[in-house]
Symmetry: D2
Subunit: 145 residues, 4 copies
């Protein structure tokens, strides 16, 4: 499968494809449940990379992105060799936080594997909550609102 | 610090200590958020190991433990070298699921790092939800109800 | 960057691209050294997937691929957001083992990050070393000899 | 099992115990091979923590420890629930590098799981190789020479 390494944005949604590797599976023969949390982080980071706000740019400006909360539901398992798709939407933007919906599907999107709602915010170098940078918020809204 | 490798049960609560390692941290200088999900799985598995129902015993009987949902809130970060404590309580037991509360504290328990509510269930070899084994449920109640 | 999810074979070499993610980095600000071992496993597995011998096919036939030895040298670090390339060659094939050279480069291949020599073999369900399957060996030689 | 969270030093050797967790295993039913590289890093870091030179102390002084090379041989597998032991010795100390032998055994040390030889060095904030700090070297020699 040919694909864009950071996924793509279509119809206000970010699509991100992942091949399941050995390291992702466990003795149960399926993907280790916590790995899904890593998968959706890769998707979120790829989304902001695509709109030209990669996380290392924020880090250089003294801002780090942190996860405040996740509500996660598992529906189906996947296993070694599967190709899966993380779909990300922006649910809400506030002054100091962003809430995303991130659903994971099998490759042809006929089956949902997991659903997540994720709240992120920014911390400054004093580890205080910072305002979401203005230019970033604008870019997000252009692409996802 | 001398401690029990699978933690200990005291006052209907399981306590499990973890030293934060290099592999757990990320470029932000703190523990990678998803690693907390691994930490609480280690604690849950250590809890059932302590009461003589290790996961490999279930696997040998064709039962695997799966996570159905997690609600997770991050409050504070921790970093390389920190020693942290996962406290686990059984909130609810049903015929086919168990709900646990798992909170993560710093070593002297003066600061909460994260709170989680986790729902687990058992799957049989046909990947159908199975009843929680009776003997296991009894043992859980003796220790945590 | 548009790319093939399992890499590509060109001039008897397998090329596999990886975007460095948060989870790959550590508090030192660079990729955690052990993660390179995961990276080259992804590349090896993608190589055999490309020639239509995915690992799950072997597992279904009671064969698992195991690593016997790795000699690994680190030369340069990489960090969050970097896109790197794993190049894999078959150095030697024997009846019961295969030796691969796997080098990791930065994206434009102007800098070497790491070099590895990896010996793999197959185990049967009795955990005994098995002959490399004939059809697989032929396919390997067609593509890499 | 009661044990010291950072292992212990006895007869010029560092002993470090690890319980194998779900996250360490893969679909093959055994510990994912690269995880052994993480295990021995935990052991090395615990060793220097025990002699009062934790890695975060070096980081605060602008020094980071990096792995230059690893020669690793796998002999036996281990799986979920196993308790294993990493034994670490200092093989050689030079002005700018340290070579360690790190062997992994099953719990009662009746079976060797893996052998490694690891070369580490220090980098300063300009990412140049630095002299091994004198006080640290002395402490290493007192405990391991």
């Amino acid at each position: 499968m040919k694909h864009l390494i950071d996924g793509l944005i279509k119809a206000k949604t970010h699509f991100y494809y992942i091949r399941v590797h050995y390291e992702d599976t466990d003795i149960g023969g399926i993907v280790y449940h916590a790995k899904y949390i890593n998968y959706i982080e890769r998707a979120r980071t790829s989304l902001i990379r695509l709109i030209k706000f990669p996380p290392e740019k924020f880090l250089n400006n003294g801002l780090s992105i942190v996860v405040k909360s996740i509500n996660f539901d598992w529906y189906s398992s996947c296993t070694l060799g599967d190709c899966i798709c993380v779909e990300t939407n922006i649910l809400k933007t506030r002054k100091v936080s962003i809430i995303l919906r991130q659903n994971i599907f099998n490759f042809d999107r006929s089956k949902i594997l997991a659903k997540a709602e994720v709240k992120i915010c920014f911390l400054d170098t004093n580890i205080k909550v910072a305002l979401i940078p203005n230019e970033f918020m604008k870019k997000l809204k252009i692409n996802f609102a």
